[in-house]
């Protein structure tokens, strides 16, 4: 394969804005998956056999998820999965100081490789792409760097890097989270770059005590290098907050989204959990729901995403909810617009009602 992959999955911007202790890459999506599975699978499904995941904040649950590389077919002698967390040395007592620094601190990984290209991606996106198309485009344009972009529709451009492209899709201007965006073309933070060029740029910027890939490489070199945009038109979502986490999970109740990720080859791979089938007991009633393996249902559930091993008691009413792995809902409960993190216990008879714009979130292991 011509490219190796780097997934940036643990910077401070990779945690939920409203719950900074939660790493986005490890958040469950669509009943079966974790967010990082989408990018990991995009890489391996595109034939990228060597993938480095760089992480530092709240990485325990992510490391647990990545504890074996075999689910993504990355348990290999040639290539495979590399996980890089920051380590402290006498002359560098810091964690990663930015995305460029995170890659620079693992520059030996890049130097010891021989793949001509590097795909840099984020661990917080939900999408499906064939990177071979991007690589081909990159070579066709004879680009130095290719940035995957989309035209913002429901996204607010001011939350993203906003690009101005010429008629050949060459980058002219790039503004990070501008207050007054000039266009609606937003960078998805996914890049293709030749490996040797990346090594040189990282060495140059870090020597000047600059550490951020967007500000110090893309924006600073936007004129000097030939940077092109690659248009992406499919489903793409970025998890930032509980609200977007809620919305993206709800998207999986939509058949097109489910078919894209769950039914159409190539599939999204995830850690195998070996749960038994989901069980629907006689008192249960289920409408428009995703139900993960090992769940046992006795109550009423509508418009909800239930992950694995969820239990709902008799005469419970659950609507518009995201319930993560191992949560227990007792009898006679009433839940609407809620997000329950893993292993939450809702005692018999509890009532919790959030709103569409502000779903109630209960943290991992809460007992109410």
């Amino acid at each position: 394969m011509k490219a190796l992959g780097i997934i940036l999955a643990g910077g401070s911007s990779e945690t939920l804005s409203d719950y900074p202790n939660k790493s986005i890459a490890a958040l469950p999506v669509g009943g079966s998956y974790r967010t990082i599975d989408f990018t990991m699978s995009n890489m391996t499904n595109s034939g990228v056999n060597k993938v480095a995941v760089i992480t530092q904040y709240s990485s325990r649950s992510l490391l647990d998820h990545l504890s074996s590389a075999k689910w993504w077919d990355l348990g290999r002698k040639q290539g495979g999965l590399f996980v890089f967390t920051p380590y402290i040395t006498n002359d560098n007592p810091f964690g990663y100081r930015g995305t460029a620094d995170a890659m620079y601190r693992n520059i030996s990984f890049l130097k010891r490789s021989n793949e001509p290209f590097v795909i840099i991606a984020s661990g917080k996106h939900v999408y499906k792409i064939d990177f071979n198309d991007v690589l081909e485009y990159h070579q066709q344009k004879q680009a130095d760097i290719t940035i995957i972009y989309k035209e913002a529709n429901y996204e607010k451009p001011s939350n993203y890097g906003v690009m101005v492209l010429d008629e050949n899709k060459r980058l002219i201007e790039f503004e990070e989270k501008p207050l007054e965006p000039q266009t609606n073309i937003i960078s998805l933070g996914i890049y293709v770059i030749p490996r040797t060029l990346l090594i040189k740029l990282l060495e140059d910027v870090v020597a000047e005590n600059r550490y951020d890939f967007v500000n110090d490489v893309i924006i600073r070199y936007r004129k000097k290098l030939k940077i092109y945009g690659y248009p992406f038109e499919g489903y793409w979502r970025c998890i930032r907050s509980i609200q977007s986490f809620f919305d993206i999970n709800m998207d999986f109740l939509n058949k097109d989204v489910r078919d894209l990720f769950c039914k159409q080859y190539p599939y999204i791979a995830t850690k195998v959990m070996d749960e038994p089938p989901a069980k629907f007991n006689i008192s249960s009633s289920t409408k428009n729901c995703i139900v993960g393996g090992g769940s046992i249902l006795n109550g009423y559930v509508e418009n909800a995403v239930l992950f694995r091993k969820v239990f709902t008691g008799s005469y419970s009413f659950i609507k518009n909810a995201i319930i993560m792995d191992g949560s227990y809902i007792g009898n006679n409960c009433y839940l609407e617009y809620v997000v329950l993190d893993k292993e939450v216990v809702v005692s018999d008879g509890r009532k919790l009602v959030g709103s569409k714009k502000n779903p109630i979130f209960l943290e991992k292991g809460s007992v109410i």
Partner: protein, 425 residues
């Protein structure tokens, strides 16, 4: 030298003829069970959960699916540098080829494989059974009794004992006599086909018996010979769930038990998981107008219609307006709108068209194979297509890429079979 205290040998070459069309293209251990599993998953999982990491699987009848399923053993953590899982098909030896001609003969032919691991004990298992058992406890018992062989036994109702191999024991549970399907049973301890042998002893007996019985069988030859030799054989009493799903009816019944609110066989135990091989794990989905009750759904199955008292395999799709009741629908099967399925077993990757009725009418036993299909269950073989608007009765068998014209005015009356050979797609 490599050394394992115990290794396990799983007999997985059986045809399972009484399962009819279900074993047309695969060995009985490869038949799916409980939605997402295959029958052999239960013994393989029991092995790894009992800390046995070296397993030989002896295959013979239609091994392709089984080979694919087991692979290098990743789902069971049996991909090991030393040991792990090894598929052992019969092979040609100098001057002659030899099929496995009996259960003990199959082990006899693999003495060299076992010797590679130089084990103290060998655990002989059948790949046909569904149960949860910690073999390490049985091994402990075996050592404590200083036995040459220990045979797991189940207490069965005495009136059913004549269906089984029965152990007659003394007060210490030492086996003094073995009777295969006795007309007048004197004990109700039925052999479960699970044996632990001291390997040196078994090897000697296998070699000895091979002189007399080229089709050497554990129940018929090895155990009686060891009793005759006054070896120390003990019965290990097992009091939990164990099923040999040997017939269409018992297979259906055992699946249906899983949908009980408190099933006698618990798949949901955290520290005794059953593992299987699925290529991906999409979630289950239940649609807006769907109704699902008393049922279990496996990964990636989608229900838009009605499913009652049924077991659905992975990737099954039940379209809106279809109703499935008291049925087993195996992986990858699609049931289109307007169809009504009652008390039937639909094998893997079938396509049931629109407005198909299955399992109605009179309960007439199958004309060709009344001994296999007689309890009202209609069975659809794997990769079968059933066209729109077809009516199929009870105890029917349907197999192949069938077209409307293959049916008599669109009807297959109870007890009839429609098997199209050579039209596998």
């Amino acid at each position: 030298m490599r050394k394992r205290e115990i290794i396990s040998m799983i007999l997985a070459g059986g045809h399972g003829t009484r399962l009819g069309i279900l074993t047309k293209h695969l060995a009985k251990p490869a038949v799916t069970f409980g939605g997402k599993y295959r029958i052999i998953d239960f013994v393989l999982s029991n092995c790894i959960n009992s800390d046995i990491d070296t397993v030989g699987v002896l295959t013979q009848y239609e091994p392709l699916k089984l080979n694919q399923h087991i692979g290098i053993g990743i789902p069971w953590d049996l991909d090991r540098k030393t040991g792990g899982v090894t598929i052992l098909p019969p092979y040609i030896k100098e001057g002659q080829g030899a099929w496995y001609s009996g259960t003990a003969n199959a082990i006899y032919q693999n003495i060299k494989f076992i010797e590679e691991y130089n084990p103290e004990y060998v655990l002989i298992l059948s790949g046909d059974h569904i149960y949860k058992m910690d073999y390490s406890k049985m091994l402990e018992y075996h050592k404590q009794k200083e036995a040459d062989a220990t045979i797991a036994v189940l207490e069965v109702p005495i009136e059913e004992a004549h269906h089984f191999g029965i152990m007659n024991t003394n007060e210490e549970d030492r086996i003094v006599e073995f009777e295969e399907k006795p007309r007048e049973p004197r004990s109700n301890l039925a052999s479960m086909g699970i044996y632990i042998f001291n390997w040196n002893k078994l090897k000697q007996v296998l070699i000895e018996d091979n002189e007399y019985h080229p089709d050497s069988d554990f129940g018929k030859h090895i155990i009686p010979r060891m009793i005759h030799n006054e070896d120390r054989l003990f019965a290990y009493r097992f009091n939990s769930y164990w099923k040999d799903v040997g017939t269409i009816e018992s297979y259906w019944q055992a699946n249906m038990e899983l949908i009980e609110t408190l099933p006698s066989f618990n798949l949901y135990e955290e520290f005794w998981k059953f593992y299987t091989n699925l290529d991906h794990q999409p979630p289950q989905y239940v649609g807006e107008v769907a109704d699902v009750k008393r049922s279990i759904l496996s990964e990636g199955s989608e229900v838009y219609g009605n499913v009652y008292s049924s077991v659905l395999g992975s990737g099954v799709i039940i379209e809106e307006g279809a109703t499935v009741r008291d049925s087993i629908i195996m992986a990858g099967t699609i049931v289109q709108s307007g169809s009504v399925l009652n008390r039937c077993i639909v094998s893997e990757n079938c396509f049931i068209g629109k407005n198909v009725i299955i399992g109605e009418g009179e309960n007439i036993a199958n004309f060709e194979k009344p001994d296999i299909y007689h309890t009202g269950i209609t069975v659809v073989g794997d990769q079968t297509t059933v066209p729109d608007n077809v009516w199929i009765g009870k105890n029917c068998v349907v197999y192949g890429n069938t077209k409307f014209s293959d049916y008599n005015n669109g009807r297959l009356e109870s007890g009839q079979s429609l098997i199209l050979e050579g039209e596998e797609s």
